[in-house]
Structure formats: structure tokens, C-alpha cells
């Protein structure tokens, strides 16, 4: 074998790979910036199954060997495989750089400076191809090119006004040969592999070109021309690159700031040394000073107190708390308040709700057949408890991803960790999906989407159908993660029903875990009755699934008797309801079981879908089996263009390459990989997890994150306004034990947090968005804040946490019921007529309680790190006219009117003044101004017509007045 012959094209091939990964701008290919990828990077590209070694097939499929003459790849492989184990290790693969080094060093035994071909060489040594005859060229020009131009370029060309659909360009030879997402369009001499022929022949349903609306199928004569053209070698004189629009530039995007591990910076020096109180202040002030700006004045004590209360516990301070603060003569009264609030159970309710926004928490499936998740509340309570206990954030992350796989010291802990995995189970879900494979792919997709945005601020799910357009996430990365979730059994419950084709099991928490329940019972007799009913109905159902007399064809699809169909649907629903009822109670004791949503690993061996369905059918239950390939722990296939019917090669379960620093644990074949994923997410080398969390916390306290797109740290997201501060906080956070409470405390006790929200013209002009934190950004109360603060002022708020939720009490059912009033939740139930804190209101997807929905509660199907803030008339109508606000205003009015009995003063006008004063403290945490007192007096005078008012009229006047305070802009503001 003449080594000289093959080394040259191989190295050219490498250059071609490099070319394909570079932006269009031509750069030199020597070592240095803009140079080729190093062999280690190349290795990762080639190692498609991610097992850390390259086998012959992978090597042969590498872009740079693929185009080589037959046998070349094998020969090269043999040379590189120095230990002859049939695999190339990274070290062995390094040799590829040396291949170009010249004859005599094929094995790369001597370390050599890697050299790569220059672009000139690349052009000079185009893949050798048989010379084209003039006849063949003429044929192309007369028969082929015109058709391509007329019929194909519109959607498959690089020129102005054209598109590149399916990643395919047909206006260059390279483009046609390389093909699009489905594979090469033109393979010279091979009519079978040339997809363009398959497409124009309309051979398959899903690949028919040109499409109907562009004239439809070509004439047979034209199709014959194309066949002949390809058979005779597909002569094609056209030049130009293969890909017009670069879809994926992972290597470049990998340099993006967010994918580098955070580094602590030293605290910068500042000119105004007397201003800063903490290091946070120094970072911020240095930035401001560099722009010639200075922070505004500090907030007033009362403003600050109201701010801290709402930010930390979501409630305003009580009278006593205000007084205690104002009377506190210790060195740092605010620190005392902060410590008290951090230790109060209301902290977890407020901060847990922040996380529930991110975790798209809800108690129903949403989507097509909105079905209740009666056990989702356990996850809600887990989250609240985690914040109250200041569970280290890394542990919090790990438990939600893999709590079921982590060691536990007790049943209680075990149960808690299982409930944590509810994070993966509470997502929106289309239970009526007929295509089982698509259903499970969608479940995994939703998990990947939520997990990657929530923890990593990265939109990995974009890579389901193609490599991510902007971030270094390849489609392979996506399916490497998908394998982990497809190896996971997600248990979300729901009862079988008319439109629920995909009910799942739940987990039963051990009694020893003493998880709360409603403590209902199902007596033995009652149970026997339900069992009998179920058995009867199942029998009846089985009968309806066996072919009717005289029925042609098998299965219910062929059953043409409408009455039988109707009965089937009814029985499916009824048996589902009965099953769910039985499952809720212990068969022997009759006690209510503690059921929970969550995940566990699938078994290691496959069950066939048919067998599973058959077994279920024998039990009188219908369908719902997992597709064979998703019934056990396994790597997932890459689905071409995200199409569930097009599985391609398997991708080993792994973590996104570009986000991986250091060596993550290998995922064993016998486990889903969630545990390893959880470790990877919280490992020291993970560049995102700590940063994303620190940024979220900052945003929740200051109105805007240091990165203003908290769920997207990718190349399309915002840039940090103060990178050194973000990184330093992130490093300190992870090194200091991932304590959220400590982080909150540190931020709140900074002077920056305590600034007033006053306007400053100079600062405003330089930094209108307040990204540099020259003041506190004025904010609005969130929906929970609005409701809780009204209840609080009215003296109606019940601070005790309830067990469960309204949804849980109602049980397993479709939210809107199958057109019967007996099932489903009424409008009143959905709006939860309770005085508990808003975090405990039922969160049913698409049917969120009105009071929350109106005030920008996030869409519970989407990860939300930052809520909207709108002022719309529907809010005003709610405040002016709704019974809820009227009730709270009435209660507050009562409270104020009772103030009289405390006998502050007998004088009527003094009394009115006193009540107005109290009303202001209760709603706005401040006394009224002189103008406002005057406005109140005028209001009451007008309302009562200046005459002594009857008690009823007085109550009406005060109710109206209190409602006005609730409706005022200031009530909803947080300055």
C-alpha cells in the first residue's frame, strides 16, 4: 500500500470538515485562532455512540473519510489502531494529525506538530472523480438543470429569494451530493440510494417532490431523464458549497461566556469607599463609577420594610412588626428582620412559589384532555419545605432529577426524595395521543425542555429536530439526553377514560413515611361493592372488545355498531374511575393511601407492547402499553427531523458535550443515567447550574436578573450586566454549600438592594433599564401578593398550610368532565373559595384561578423565570366589581369600623382620620399624606351626602373606600 497516495486526500478531507464548521468568512487554517479543531474535538464528533472510542464503522462514517475511495478508511483505521484492539482510543486517534506529517510516520508514534492542509490545497485536490464527457454535460444542461431550476430551486437553493428546506440545496453539485436531512439526494451511479429519485417518483407518502401545490409529480419522461442522469454518473459542472446557511456552529458557540466555568474575581476597588456595605456593592459601584454614575439615595425605612417583607415572605408587615422594626435600637435592625423572615414558614411559601413557576407546577395535564393530577400537591409541599429547610440547592436539583436513586436514611427521606421527582412527572401531557411512540417521545421532550431551561438556562429541546441553531447543542446531544428519560418510567397517574389513552401508575408512599392524606376510609363492605361493580363492568367491556356477530375485520375500529361504541366509551370511563377509587385505599385496612407522582428507572429487559397490552386487556383495561423500544433501559435512537416514525442510529446516553467540563461519570448500561445526570448538573465543572440559580435569585429580589433572560443563557439570551459579580456570586454560592437563604441574605443586606426607587435623570439617560443597579427598580406585586395582601389587610388570611388541594379532594377526573355536571370542577371550586395563602390555590392548567390569572400568573405549561407585568382593564374590572374584592374590602371596612370601639376619640372627624390612618397602614404600610386625608374626608362627605349615615350606608362607604385603596396603583406597587 502506498501511503503517500492516501495520506493526502485524508488530510484534505479534514480541512473540508473544518471548512464546514467555519463561518463563511475565509480564514487561514494554520494553528492559532480560527484554526482547525484539535483531534480531541474531532474525536468527539466522530464518536457517534459516545462510548469514548471510535470503531471502524464510526471511522468510516466520519465526514472526512466518507468521501474517500473505498478501502481507504479501513486502511487508515488499521494504521491508527496501534494496539490492534479494533477501536481507536483518543490517544490513537491523535495519530491522525501526524498522518499528514509525511511518509514513514503513519502510526504517529513520534509526536509531531499537527499540520493541516491549506484551503489552496483543498481546492486543488477536489475529490477525484471520473472526467465528464461533453455529452453527459449536454444532457445535464438540457434535461436536468432546467428542471432543477424550475421545480426545485424555489425551496432548495441558496440564491436570493430561495429557501433551504430540509437542509437540502440543489443548486450546487456538492449540495446535491451531500443531500439534506434525509440523506444524499444524488449518489452518482446509484439509483437506489439517490433520494431525489425516490422523491420525484412519489414512491413514499412522506417524501414526494415537487409538492402538489408546485405542480405535483413530474412527468414520467422527466423522471426517466433523472434516472439516466444518475445512472451515467450524474455529471454536474456546478460549483459552490454544500450548505448555504450554516445551521450549527457548535465549536464556536462553545466559546460563549455561559459555557465557561464561572471564575471568582477579586473585589474591585472603588472611589467612593464609604458607600459600599458589602462586596456586592463594590462590584456594582465599580461598574457605575466606570460610567461616571453614582447610586441614588437609600430607601426610607418604611419603604424598605415593606419591600423586604414582600420579597421574603410575600406579605406586608403587621402593625406590631412595623413598630418592632422602628423601635429596634440594635446595630442592624434590618438584619434582624431578615433573619426572622428567613426563619419563618412563610419564606418557603413565597420562594417555593418562585420555583414552582420555573418547574411549571400544575395539578392537571392541560393540553387536549385536561385531566387532574390529584397528587401533584405533594411536590408543591416538597418544594415549600425544601426552601424552608434551606435544602442546599445542589441537593434540591439532584433530588428532583434522581431522588428515587439517591441513598436515604429513612422511609421518610426516601418518600421525600421520591416526591421530589414529581418535578419530572407534573408536566403538561396529551393523554389522548394515539401514537404511543410519539407520546413517550413527547414526555421525554417535555422533561428535557423543562430540565434544561430550569437548571441550565438552555433550550436543549430546540435540538429535537435538528442541531440547535444558536447554541452548541447537537441533535445527538438531545437524543443522548432523551435516552435517559426514555429509560425512565414517569408515573403521573390519571384514570383511564374516554379520551385518556395513556393512564399511568402512581407510587405508594410507605406508611412509615407518615405522609399526610385526607384520612378518608373505604370500608371492607364498600370496597367489595366497588370491586364487584368493577369486575362486572370489565366483563361487559371485554365483551365489547370482541368482534360483534357478523363483524368483518378485527378490533373495535371495525365495529360499526354505534351503540357498542358508545357503551365502550362509557365503560372505559367508568372502569377507570372505579380503578382509581380502589387504588386510593388500602385493601386490608381501608385507610387512605399516600399516593405520589414521580419517576423510577425502567426495568432492564424489554416487554413487548403487544404483550403488555394483552396483559392489560386480560385485566379488562385497554391499551397504554409502552412501545417495545421504550419499555426498558436503553439508548435512544436519533429521530430524523424529530419524526417519530424515522428512528436512525442509536445514541449512547450522555450529557451535552459543549456543557461538559471534566469527565462526567459514565452511565452504566443497567441504569437510566438520571443519577449521573443529577451529578453532572451539580458537578463543580458545570458552567451553568450555579450561575443560573444565582441569577434567578437576583432577579426575584431586584426585578431583573444580572442576565435579563433567566431561562436562556444561550447565545440568543441576554449578556450579564456585571459578569464578574455573577461569576463571583456563583462560585461563592457553590463553594459555600449552595445555601439559598445565605444568598438571599447577602443580597438583601447589600446597600444596593436598599436603595430607593427614585428617578435620577443622569443615571436614567445613561442606563434607562437600570441594568447597573443605580436604584431599586420599581416593581409590582405578583398575583399571589395582590390576593394575600388583600386577605391580610382584611384580617382574613389563614396562615395555616392546608393538607392537599381542592383538586386532590375531587379525585381522578377530566377537569371539565365528559359533559356532565357531576364530574369536573366548578368555577367556584377552581377559584378556591378559601382564605389560605395563594400558593395553595388549585393550579389547573388553562383554568387558573381568576385572581391569579388576571394578575399575570404564568402559563403553568411553560418554564417561567420572570413574570409579565401588565395593566389591563380586566384587572380593573376585577378590582372594581368582583365579589372577592368586595368581600375583602367589606372585611377591612368592618375591621376599621370596629376600631371605634377601642375609643380612640369620640370626635367624629378625628375618628374618621384615625380610621383612614389605620387603613393606610394596613394596605400601604405608611400613614396618609395631608392630601390623602383630605381626599378621604371629601369622599365620605360625598358618599353620605354630608348627613349622618346609617350603619348600612357607613359600611357601604367604608367598603367602597377600602376597595379604592386595594384598587389604587400603589397597593400593587413595590418600590
Amino acid at each position: 500500500m502506498n501511503k503517500l497516495l492516501w495520506t493526502l486526500p485524508l488530510s484534505v478531507g479534514i480541512a473540508a470538515v473544518v471548512l464546514a464548521q467555519q463561518p463563511p468568512a475565509k480564514k487561514g487554517f494554520g494553528p492559532g485562532p480560527g484554526g482547525p479543531p484539535d483531534p480531541a474535538t474531532l474525536f468527539r464528533f466522530i464518536d457517534t455512540n459516545r462510548d469514548g472510542k471510535v470503531d471502524k464503522r464510526e471511522f468510516a462514517n466520519a465526514p472526512f473519510t466518507k468521501s474517500q475511495p473505498a478501502g481507504m478508511a479501513d486502511a487508515t483505521f488499521t494504521v491508527l489502531d496501534t494496539n490492534k484492539d479494533g477501536f481507536l482510543s483518543t490517544a490513537e486517534f491523535q495519530g491522525i494529525a501526524a498522518v499528514r506529517g509525511g511518509p514513514g510516520r503513519p502510526g504517529g508514534n513520534e509526536p509531531t506538530q499537527p499540520q493541516f492542509a491549506t484551503p489552496k490545497a483543498a481546492t486543488a485536490a477536489k475529490t477525484p472523480e471520473r472526467a465528464t464527457s461533453p455529452e453527459e454535460l449536454a444532457f445535464f444542461e438540457s434535461k436536468i438543470r432546467p428542471v432543477l431550476v424550475e421545480k426545485c430551486y424555489k425551496c432548495h437553493a441558496t440564491g436570493e429569494g430561495n429557501k433551504v428546506k430540509g437542509g437540502l440545496v440543489l443548486d450546487t453539485r456538492e449540495g446535491a451530493r451531500k443531500g439534506g436531512d434525509s440523506g444524499p439526494a444524488v449518489v452518482p451511479g446509484d439509483t437506489k440510494k439517490s433520494l431525489i429519485l425516490e422523491a420525484i417518483r412519489y414512491a413514499k407518502n412522506d417524501l414526494q417532490m415537487p409538492p402538489e401545490k408546485d405542480g405535483g409529480k413530474l412527468s414520467d419522461a422527466v423522471i426517466k431523464d433523472f434516472e439516466r442522469w444518475i445512472q451515467t454518473g450524474a455529471a454536474d459542472p456546478r460549483t459552490g458549497g454544500a450548505v448555504a446557511k450554516k445551521e450549527y456552529d457548535g465549536l464556536k458557540a462553545k466559546d460563549h461566556w455561559a459555557y465557561q466555568p464561572p471564575k471568582k474575581s477579586s473585589v474591585p476597588a472603588v472611589k467612593n469607599t464609604s458607600w459600599p456595605r458589602t462586596d456586592i456593592d463594590r462590584f456594582l459601584l465599580a461598574n457605575l463609577e466606570s460610567k461616571g454614575l453614582a447610586p441614588v439615595a437609600d430607601a426610607s425605612k418604611l419603604t424598605l420594610l415593606r419591600r423586604v417583607y414582600f420579597d421574603l415572605i410575600g406579605l406586608p408587615p403587621t402593625f406590631d412588626e412595623v413598630n418592632a422594626f422602628l423601635d429596634d435600637k440594635s446595630a442592624d435592625p434590618l438584619a434582624n428582620v431578615v433573619d426572622k423572615l428567613l426563619a419563618s414558614p412563610q419564606f418557603g411559601e413565597r420562594w417555593g412559589r418562585h420555583w414552582l413557576d420555573v418547574a411549571r407546577y400544575a395539578e392537571s395535564t392541560g393540553k387536549d384532555v385536561n385531566t387532574a393530577y390529584p397528587h401533584a400537591w405533594r411536590y408543591r409541599d416538597y418544594v415549600i419545605a425544601a426552601f424552608n429547610a434551606d435544602k442546599p440547592y445542589d441537593r434540591f436539583v439532584r433530588e428532583q432529577v434522581a431522588g428515587d436513586l439517591l441513598p436515604s436514611a429513612s422511609d421518610k427521606q426516601k418518600a421525600e426524595q421520591l416526591v421530589a421527582t414529581g418535578f419530572l412527572a407534573i408536566g403538561p401531557r396529551g393523554l389522548n395521543e394515539q401514537n404511543a411512540r410519539l407520546f413517550y417521545l413527547d414526555v421525554a421532550d417535555e422533561q428535557i425542555d423543562t430540565l434544561s431551561q430550569a437548571f441550565l438556562g438552555t433550550t436543549v429541546a430546540c435540538a429535537r429536530c435538528h442541531d440547535h441553531k444558536f447554541d452548541p447543542i447537537s441533535q445527538k446531544d438531545y437524543y443522548a439526553l432523551a435516552g435517559i428519560f426514555l429509560s425512565t418510567d414517569t408515573r403521573y397517574g390519571t384514570a383511564q377514560g374516554v379520551q385518556n389513552r395513556r393512564p399511568s401508575e402512581l407510587f405508594e408512599l410507605p406508611k412509615s413515611a407518615s405522609a399526610p392524606t385526607f384520612e378518608r376510609t373505604l370500608t371492607r363492605e364498600a370496597r367489595a361493592g366497588v370491586e364487584k361493580q368493577l369486575a362486572d363492568k370489565r366483563n361487559e367491556l371485554r365483551g365489547l372488545f370482541t368482534p360483534a356477530p357478523g363483524q368483518k375485520g378485527k378490533g373495535p375500529q371495525a365495529d360499526n355498531d354505534p351503540r357498542r361504541t358508545l357503551d365502550r366509551l362509557r365503560l372505559l370511563f367508568e372502569t377507570g374511575q372505579l380503578e382509581s377509587q380502589l387504588k386510593q385505599f388500602d385493601a386490608t385496612t381501608g385507610e387512605e393511601k399516600a399516593l405520589a407522582m414521580g419517576v423510577q428507572d425502567l426495568p432492564r429487559t424489554q416487554t413487548s407492547e403487544r404483550t403488555a397490552n394483552f396483559r392489560r386487556f386480560a385485566e379488562g383495561r385497554i391499551g397504554g402499553g409502552r412501545p417495545d423500544e421504550f419499555s426498558a433501559i436503553a439508548d435512544a435512537a436519533l429521530y430524523t427531523r424529530g419524526d417519530a416514525s424515522k428512528p436512525a442510529e442509536k445514541v449512547a446516553r450522555a450529557f451535552p458535550v459543549a456543557l461538559t467540563h471534566g469527565t462526567p461519570s459514565r452511565i452504566p448500561t443497567y441504569a437510566s443515567g438520571r443519577k449521573e445526570l443529577a451529578e453532572w448538573l451539580t458537578a463543580a465543572g458545570n458552567p451553568l447550574t450555579a450561575r443560573v440559580w444565582v441569577n434567578r435569585v437576583w432577579g426575584w429580589l431586584l426585578g431583573e436578573g444580572l442576565v435579563d433572560s433567566p431561562d436562556n443563557f444561550g447565545t440568543t439570551g441576554g449578556k450579564p450586566s456585571n459578569p464578574a459579580l455573577l461569576d463571583t456570586l456563583a462560585v461563592k454560592f457553590s463553594e459555600g454549600g449552595w445555601s439559598t437563604k445565605k444568598l438571599v441574605r447577602e443580597i438583601v443586606l447589600s446597600r444596593a438592594y436598599q436603595l430607593s426607587s427614585a428617578h435620577d435623570e443622569k443615571n436614567h439617560l445613561a442606563d434607562p433599564e437600570n441594568r447597573l443597579q443605580w436604584r431599586m427598580s420599581p416593581r409590582r406585586l405578583d398575583a399571589e401578593g395582590v390576593r394575600d395582601a388583600m386577605l391580610h389587610a382584611a384580617g382574613q388570611l389563614d396562615l395555616k398550610a392546608p393538607v392537599g388541594s381542592v383538586v386532590a379532594l375531587k379525585g381522578d377526573f377530566p377537569i371539565d368532565g365528559p359533559n356532565t355536571a357531576a364530574l369536573g370542577l366548578s368555577e367556584t371550586q377552581l377559584n378556591a373559595d378559601t382564605t389560605h395563602r395563594s400558593v395553595y390555590l388549585p393550579i389547573v392548567r388553562d383554568r387558573e384561578p381568576e385572581v391569579l390569572d388576571l394578575f399575570d400568573f404564568p402559563d403553568a405549561s411553560l418554564v417561567t423565570g420572570k413574570r409579565e407585568s401588565t395593566s389591563v382593564p380586566a384587572q380593573a374590572l376585577f378590582l372594581l366589581n368582583s365579589p372577592f374584592v368586595a368581600d375583602q374590602a367589606g372585611s377591612l371596612a368592618n375591621r376599621l369600623l370596629r376600631w371605634q370601639s377601642s375609643g380612640v376619640s369620640a370626635d367624629e372627624s378625628a375618628q374618621l382620620k384615625e380610621r383612614v390612618n389605620v387603613a393606610y397602614w394596613l394596605t400601604l404600610t405608611r400613614p396618609p399624606s395631608a392630601n390623602e386625608s383630605k381626599a378621604a374626608q371629601d369622599f365620605f362627605a360625598k358618599f353620605t351626602g354630608g348627613k349622618p349615615a346609617s350603619p348600612a350606608l357607613q359600611a357601604a362607604a367604608w367598603t367602597s373606600y377600602c376597595r379604592a385603596l386595594f384598587a389604587s396603583a400603589e397597593f400593587r406597587q413595590l418600590n
Binding site: 371539565d816 388553562d846 401588565t870 380593573a876 367602597s960 406597587q973
Partner: protein, 464 residues
Amino acid sequence: MNPTPPFPCQQFMPLLSRRAALSSVSCGFGWLAFSALAARAAAADKPLAPKQPHFTPRAKRVIFLCMSGGPSHVDTFDYKPRLVTDDGKPGSRPGSLWMAPKSEFKQRGKSGLWISDFFPNVAQHADELALLRSMQTDLPAHPQAFLRMHTGTSQFVRPSLGAWATYGLGTENENLPGFITIAPPNNVGGAQNYGSAFLPAIYQGTRIGTGNRFSGSQAQVKNLQPPGTPQAQRLELDLIQSLNREALARDPRNAEVEGVIESFELAFKMQSQMPTVLDLNKESDATKKLYGVGDRDTDDFGRKCLMARRFIEAGVRFVEVGSGNWDHHFNLSTQLARNCTSVDKPIAGLLTDLKQRGLLKDTLVIWGGEFGRTPYAQGNDGRDHNNKGFTLWMAGGGAKGGTSYGSTDDYGAEAVQDKVSIHDLHATILHLLGLNHEKLTFRYAGRDFRLTDVKGEVVKGVVG
């Protein structure tokens, strides 16, 4: 890799914040300066203010008459003589039999469109109708198909067509919401069908009643009824606004306070305007009769259609009107007849009324359901779901009257010529509204989203 500008189409820059708007102004302040500022800021974040479309629109507004359940096309708007001749012969599904239409088809108007006697009144408007006879959707299941019809996908939570249209064009009357949906079903995807998903919440549809609980005579918008007398409320509102102005005086640069002030004035106006629009007693008896209001069979849908016209006239951009129970697995001959009767006269009345008011030329009326039904029978007198071929029609607003576009096979089982997908339909509707479906985008989670995702071709054949 082309870096995409954050808002590729400047005119659709979403909700430029007041802060951002304020930042572009550098004068000092004082009350006068502030008023000017506030006006500018308000313009910048009045998301419902009318916006310029991409090109000259044919339609300024839309009324979507949505028949949920899947109305049968082969009994109404898709004429298949083979079904008559082959009635009772084996159909395409094993064991099934073709079933002739339950109503006779006739050619109508100058255009000679074939329409069945189930729609005798609508048929009189044949020359206004553009029939899309080659509609297809991806799944024959109600929830998925219904969501797809409204949002383009059932797989993901996405904004509804009406939300996109309102986002693109704003509305002509800021005293009313831009997108109203009358009696939408609360199953089959529920609120998602008129939701705004990641678009600003202001674009979501305002629901009036729901499918199962709504009858046309009980139309309601929540919280429109003041708890006390109008005088008492005005007094209360004056107090609220005086407190707000006080707050504004303390912090003149706080544009959010200004926003609250505005929203209360608007709400107050809505309180009076909304009931007025909803009050059908303002209409003449002749008009009510035209819509079939007062007749037992047509009263409900007639009221809804009349209400839709009143909304459109008042400046609402997109009105959807729901009619349920088109899922005729059984008793097709009687039930379908009843359904058709209940909507036929009201729809014809709507078309007549719009025309005589000069509104039809720029109001796009769409009729259709989430899919069609099988040409073969289910049982003796029913038809099953059919996603592979069905008919939908458009009238007015630039739709090419008297047209039949595309076709299904000889039996109406599957679209075979000029197939139209839901994305194509959406692209066409936006096109008629003067919006390029590829340019109407919203940036969310790092990507520019479209109603039509990466697909959709305008069906030029129905554009007049």
C-alpha cells in the same frame, strides 16, 4: 450563522416597555413635559393600538364560525355523485359501506357551486363563497385536531390564530378586547384554543360563555356589573384616580401608574360599552329576524352571529363563534339536519347583513370544523372522523367568491388535488389580513416563533 435581530420586524416590536420609551426622551420634566412623555410612552405600550399590516390587506377583521365535532362535508359542501350511485356498496374501510349524502345537492348561484339542501340559505350566497374542498389535518381525534385548527399544533402550547392576528394588527376599538370568542368549547383543548401562550396576555381571547353552558341569550363578560349604583362607582373611581394621580405627582416618571390610570378608565368604558354591544335589543326586528333570532331552532346561533357582527362593527379584530355537537357518529340524518338548520339561517343572515352594511368586503368570514367525516357509514346512520379530506369555506374579506378550490377523491374520503393543510389555511388567513405569515414572528425562548411554524403556503386559489 446569521445573528437574528431581536425583533426582525420592527413594527411588531412587542410591548416596547415604557421605561424603554421614556429613555428615548431627554427633556427635563415638569407636568407639561411629563404629559408629552406619558403620551409617547402610552403609544409605545398600547399593545392594542392599530398597527400597520405588512401589505395592503383584503380583510380588516375576521369572523370564524367554528363548528366543533367535525361537520360532515359529504352531506353539505362536497358533492360526490359516486356516493349516490354506490350507496350501500362496500366502502374503503373493511366491512364498511358507502352512504349517500343525507341531503340533495344542487348547483347554486351564477357560479354553480354544488351545495346541499342542508344549507338552503347559505346556498343563496354561493357566489360569495370560496370552498376549500381539500382540507387535511394530521389526526382524526377531536382535541388534537381542534387545537391544531386554532394554534397550528397540538403538541405544544402555542398562541391561537386570533391572538396572532391581534398581535399583528392591534384593534380598532380600545374600549374592547381585540379578540373575542363566543361560546368556545371548554374541552378539546379549552382555553388553549384562544390563549396567547408566550404572546403578551393582552392578546388572549376574551371568552363570552362556554360551549356547554352558554346560550346566546345569556352572554356575559366577567365583572361587568358594578356592585352599587353608577354614581357610587364613579365616586369610588374618582377617588382611585385621585390617589393614583397623587402617586404620579410623587413619582412623575412612574409610567406604570399611568398605565393603571388608563386601565381603569378603559374598564369603566368597557362596563358601559360591553353591555351595549352585547345588548341585541338595540337591533331592529327585521335584523333579528334576518338572523333567525326568536325562532326556536335558530335563536341561539342567531344571537351569537348577531353579537359577532356587533363586535366587528364596534372595532373588534377577531371574533370566533362556536357551535357544538357536530360529531355525528349516530343519527346523522336527523342530527346533522338539526345542526345545519340551527346555523344556516343565522349564517346567511350574517352574510346578508354584513353585505348591506358594506362590511363584507373587508370582513373575512370562515366556516368550518376541525375535520370532516367518512363517506362510508358508521352503523346505519352515522359517519366516523375523517382528517384526510374535508371542506371549509371563506366569504368576504378578499376571499374569491363562487370558487371551489381543491378536491377530494370520488367519494370524498381523501383530498387528492391541491391539498390544503392547516398551516396553509393559517397562512392564507394572515395573508388576507395583510400579514406575511413568515414575518409575523415573536421571539420566545431564543427563537422567532410563527403561527405556521416552518410550513404554510398561501392558497392563492381562494384569494380574489
